[in-house]
């Protein structure tokens, strides 16, 4: 082994261990983010493994969207094991004395479900006894919101029940479930008596099974499937539920992991930049060593050893930090996880994070490292400002860059388990880094030109300081700007999603939607609405049907075909269809011709189909579809294709029939109204209608929006948390850059003092420098995120883009303040230096 190199590396490093440590700290935040998210994933998957049965609550669940037939029930009997059943649907529930109503998720349970895990209630005994006592369990959030207590009553359909318990936890469901609507659990019999099931609600019927360990559930499912043939039964086993869940967790952690990876890359960029400045400063030493006859291989080894040691130290510190952070991550996701996470030190995650950290920082450091060999021995006798990188051969430069990118992409594709994702990510990242670098160069040079005589000396000196040799201004602006970019894009996307669904609240904008209205109730509801000064904006009939044939083949034939590429969703879904003679404002015909009137269903019916279904089915104009309308087949032909603006809150339909066909079919109505006034008026209106017609469901659009906003904010919090690591990296890199230039800064400060600057002037100059740096970084990041936001708005949401300048402004201010804080911390160490040092300072 090369003894000389190791010894020299150590001797050379020991006097500056402190600053070397600082240089490598750039990757700490990135490695920490990576280790934390990898460990978190390991924890969640471990928990899923351990509690797989609780996720489903049974060994097997069989589901159907209509009541099980007597043949089904007979078949269930033959399967054996312990069994339970449930019906689940959404309906209005009237809560308490005041009669507040909410569209709620109701489930009626009969039997010992869940077989694994338990429904947690307060009092705890309620979960076990509600079926015997004929009482209800009600979700905690709605009880708190409406001020309800155990002992109060609720009304479901025509039936009143006492609340015997508050739902704290349902196995397999996260707290976020409540955002969709309050959960209410009642005995199944009650539902059957409530009269709700007959009146058009969409109901899921489930049968649950618990078997002995020995039973092969997969084989059982296979045989039942075969026997049942074309039926609509859906099967969920512990294994399939676990896989579904793991996939979601994988996707989530992969996404967050990528954001963490950005922090790591930025950190590595910072480290590379620090290594370069370090080497540049060492030029004279290197030249001297070369003069003394040290070979280029040996000098390279000396620095390589130092850099590897730095990378290892930084990555190690990051791993430790990551393990600590991981303890707190579950808090961010608590509401999305259906269980408490079992935490464990996942060595594989720690090692993976550590390894990736070291590898990535080394890969980035290769370029500055090999530039060591361009330092000529001549530099030992002639001091000059020498830039090693500029003397590297162009081809070497390019080669190393390409190799580095390939290694990083490879690492990422291992991490995300997808080469395409890695390539897309790297592509996006390279573009944004290049853009950021470009923008920061532009801003910096713009600023340089801006040294106007009109500004005070303090300002001009502050600006000039940004161009201090080896100051890394562009790299700093890039790393800090990237953090800003991530946060900016996230907040912009959230705003846009909200905008997209935040249908303006105006006089003619709908704020209450009723559906599941029976034919005989329709007139009364319209009358009630008008009596209460509400305006009826839309009143549409809805007929539900299923696809039975597509292009001459039955759905079963298509699904059995191994080469089938048509989405099962589009083939099997229940189509809710309306009929009318006119198009509405949200619809535009893109192909074919809209035919508004038809003559019964004896001839082929010309229908209009939404673009999305056309895509899913792979259908085209003129294709024939046969729909099964509650037992009656109706043959149709795609006469036109529509683009539908789903941004509107009123009911929209993928499939639209002309008038004159469906009128006699069994149907129900949906009614969209505008209630003048505020939330109270809307609630009163809703109560009045639900009291008169308990089966009718109501959607308060204000409340829905609130739920969506809450949900998005929770997701955003998680993403912002990860983006914060990039900001953190930026600040650390800034700290180390300041440390590198510390001597230079002290010299400048002392020199200014010697020339007669008072302390305040010296401080102000530095403050201006840091503030400018923060502003530049924010501007670069903000500018790019605005452009990104505009692109997203244009391509994705198809909206005009209005950025939320307030929230972006707050982020900008925060970043500038953080930069100032780091700067001020450093200034503390500079002031208080005696000016005399300037006289003794050696040439440097």
């Amino acid at each position: 082994m090369n003894y000389f190199a190791i010894k020299t590396a150590w001797r050379d490093a020991r006097s500056q261990l402190g600053s070397l440590l600082l240089y490598c700290s750039g990757i700490i935040a990135g490695v920490a983010a990576l280790v934390a998210i990898l460990s978190f994933r390991a924890d969640v998957l471990l928990t899923v493994d351990e509690q797989a049965k609780e996720l489903l609550g049974a060994d097997l669940e069989i589901l159907q969207n209509e009541d099980f037939s007597s043949q089904h029930i007979a078949m269930f009997d033959t399967l054996g094991g312990r069994q339970a059943s449930s019906v689940e649907f959404s309906s209005m529930v009237v809560y308490g004395e005041t009669g507040e109503t909410r569209l709620s998720q109701i489930r009626g349970i009969s039997g010992g479900f869940p077989f694994y895990g338990e429904i947690k209630t307060e009092p705890a005994s309620a979960a076990a006894s509600f079926q015997d006592t004929g009482t209800a369990l009600v979700d905690r959030p709605v009880m708190r919101q409406l001020g309800l207590a155990v002992g109060d009553s609720i009304r479901v359909g025509n039936t009143s029940l006492m609340i015997s318990g508050k739902i704290l936890e349902v196995p397999g469901e996260s707290a976020a479930f409540s955002l969709i609507g309050p959960r209410v659990i009642v005995p199944k019999e009650t539902i059957e008596q409530s009269g709700l099931l007959q009146r058009g609600s969409r109901v899921q019927h489930k049968q649950f099974f618990a078997f002995d360990e020995a039973r092969d559930v997969d084989a059982l499912v296979a045989s039942v499937r075969k026997a049942e043939g074309t039926s609509q039964l859906r099967f969920t086993t512990v294994e399939s539920r676990k896989n579904d869940f793991s996939e979601i967790v994988d996707n989530l952690t992969r996404f967050l992991g990528m954001i963490g990876f950005i922090a790591l890359l930025l950190g590595a960029l910072g480290v590379a930049s620090a290594v370069y400045v370090y080497i540049k400063r060492k030029s004279a030493t290197v030249a001297t060593l070369r003069c003394l006859g040290v070979s280029s291989g040996q000098t390279l080894t000396v620095f390589a050893i130092q850099v590897v040691a730095m990378g290892l130290t930084g990555a190690f510190a990051g791993a430790v930090l990551g393990v600590l952070i991981q303890q707190f991550l579950p808090m961010l996701f608590m509401e999305f996880l259906p269980f408490e996470i079992v935490q464990q030190l996942s060595w594989s995650s720690v090692l993976l994070g550590l390894g990736i950290g070291v590898l990535v920082s080394l890969v980035f450091a290769v370029l500055p490292l090999i530039s060591v060999n361009t330092i000529p021995p001549l530099l030992a006798i002639r001091t000059a400002d020498f830039s090693p990188l500029a003397h590297l051969k162009k081809s070497t430069f390019l080669w190393v860059m390409v190799m580095a990118l390939m290694v990083v992409t490879a690492v990422l594709s291992v991490l995300t388990d997808s080469l395409i994702a890695a390539l897309a990510f790297m592509g996006g990242l390279i573009i944004s880094v290049l853009l950021l670098l470009g923008v920061s160069k532009l801003l910096v040079s713009g600023l340089k030109k801006l040294r106007l005589p009109g500004f005070s000396y303090i300002w001009r000196q502050g600006v000039a300081n940004l161009f201090r040799p080896n100051n890394q201004t562009a790299v700093l602006v890039t790393t800090l700007g990237m953090g800003m970019l991530l946060i900016g894009v996230m907040s912009i996307s959230r705003d846009m999603i909200l905008d997209r669904i935040a249908f303006q609240t105006g006089d003619d904008q709908p704020n209450l939607v009723f559906y599941d209205i029976q034919v005989d109730q329709n007139d009364d509801i319209i009358r009630l609405a008008k009596e209460n000064n509400a305006r009826v904006l839309q009143n549409v009939p809805i007929v539900s049907m299923r696809l039975s044939e597509f292009k001459g083949r039955t759905i079963q034939e298509i699904r059995d075909d191994e080469n089938n590429t048509i989405s099962g969703w589009a083939l099997r879904r229940e189509y809710r269809v309306t009929y009318r003679s006119e198009l509405n404002e949200a619809e535009t015909i893109t192909q074919g011709e809209w035919i508004g009137e038809a003559d019964g269903f004896d001839s082929v019916v010309p229908i209009s189909v939404g673009q999305q279904i056309i895509d899913e089915l792979g259908a085209s104009l003129g294709d024939h579809l046969v729909f099964d309308v509650q037992g009656i087949p109706i043959e149709t032909k795609i006469a036109s294709v529509r683009e539908i603006d789903f941004q509107r809150p009123e009911p929209n339909f993928f499939v639209l029939f002309p008038a004159g066909v469906l009128e006699p079919a069994p149907q129900f109505f949906a009614t969209v109204i505008n209630v003048p006034g505020g939330a109270d008026e809307v609630a009163a209106m809703q109560q009045a209608i639900v009291r008169a017609h308990p089966n009718v469901s109501a959607l308060d659009i204000g409340l829905v929006l609130e739920s969506v906003r809450t949900f998005l904010e929770k997701i955003e919090l998680a993403v912002q948390f990860m983006a914060l690591f990039s900001v953190l990296t930026g600040l650390i890199v800034l700290g180390s850059a300041i440390a590198i230039s510390r001597f230079q800064r002290i010299k400048e400060a002392v020199l200014l003092r010697t020339l007669g600057a008072v302390q305040q002037q010296v401080s102000r100059i530095q403050l201006i420098e840091y503030a400018l740096l923060g502003v530049l970084a924010s501007l670069a990041g903000l500018g790019l995120s605005l452009i990104a936001g505009w692109f997203i708005a244009w391509f994705w949401f198809d909206l005009a883009y209005v950025p939320n300048f307030v929230s972006l402004g707050i982020t900008t201010t925060a970043i500038v303040l953080l930069v100032l804080l780091v700067g001020a911390f450093n200034m503390r160490r500079i002031s208080g230096r005696k000016p005399l040092e300037i006289l003794r300072a050696s040439v440097n």
């Binding site: 400002d385 005589p453 009109g454 005070s456 000396y457 001009r460 000196q461 000039a464 300081n465 161009f467 201090r468 040799p469 230079q744 010299k747 400048e748 020199l751 200014l752 003092r753 010697t754 020339l755 007669g756 600057a757 008072v758 302390q759 305040q760 002037q761 005696k834 000016p835 005399l836 300037i838 006289l839 003794r840 300072a841 050696s842 040439v843 440097n844």
Partner: protein, 245 residues
């Protein structure tokens, strides 16, 4: 002239002791002298004899262990750091061995700094700096950065900077120490020319005997004490240039 009556710099019983690790090192030991206006004085002595320390104390860059420094009528010992900075700004010019230009400013901007620190208006300062740079022969290098200038050129910029405030006294610590002989001689020439033209008092620390001989007066330091103090010319009024017996 009136100012000839009053010494620009009066140093009385100046002592500086550094304590490191319990042991005290007396670098300056009861040094006294005064220098009148317009006089050029060199301080010479072997390396480590305390020249730089003395210069630093005279310019208020450090505080003495005992004794006092009076500069242009200001008693330095009783001033705060910021008051000292203002005094340096108004009354003192500096030329350093290692030039000490601000790397982020161009030549002319470097020259302007002392006046700008006082809040001088841009235009007149710029013109003054330009004129000074012309006087030191750098009229064509105004917008160059220090790294783009040779050592001699950097030192010329530093000299222009030292004179821009028309200081009463100029301290130079081995101004030619980092330069080759020929360039050093040019710098000396510029320094003495400007000194004569502006009537500034000049204190030059050097170990170059030739440079010392060009001054009106030579103070020889050895181990922190004044070993000799002699006039090279007879024209200087004795009372403001007391030579201790």
């Amino acid at each position: 002239m009136d100012s000839n009556q009053q010494p620009v710099l009066r140093v009385t019983e100046l002592t500086k002791t550094y304590t490191s690790g319990g042991t005290g090192l007396t670098v300056l030991d009861h040094v006294s002298f005064s220098i009148g206006a317009g006089v050029s004085c060199s301080i010479i002595g072997p390396s480590g004899s305390g020249k730089t320390t003395l210069l630093g104390l005279c310019a208020g860059l450090d505080l003495p262990s005992s004794g006092s420094v009076e500069l242009s009528g200001h008693e330095l010992g009783i001033k705060s750091e910021d008051e000292l900075a203002r005094i340096r700004n108004r009354h003192i010019g500096f030329v350093f061995q290692s030039f000490q230009l601000i790397p982020t400013l161009t030549a002319i901007e470097n020259v302007m700094v002392p006046v700008e620190l006082r809040g001088g208006a841009y235009e007149p300062v710029y013109n003054l700096a330009k004129q000074l740079l012309t006087e030191v022969g750098l009229s064509h290098r105004l917008d160059h950065y220090p790294t783009q200038l040779s050592g001699g050129e950097q030192q010329r910029v530093a000299i222009a900077r030292a004179f821009i405030n028309e200081p009463g006294i100029l301290f130079a610590d081995e101004p030619t120490g980092n330069l080759d002989t020929e360039t050093g001689e040019q710098i000396e020439q510029i320094l003495f020319d400007l000194n004569r033209k502006k009537g500034t008092t000049l204190v030059v620390v050097t170990h170059d005997n030739e440079l010392a001989a060009r001054c009106d007066r030579i103070i020889r330091l050895k181990a922190g004490r004044i070993q000799s103090d002699e006039l090279t010319r007879e024209t200087i009024p004795a009372e403001t240039n007391e030579i201790p017996a």
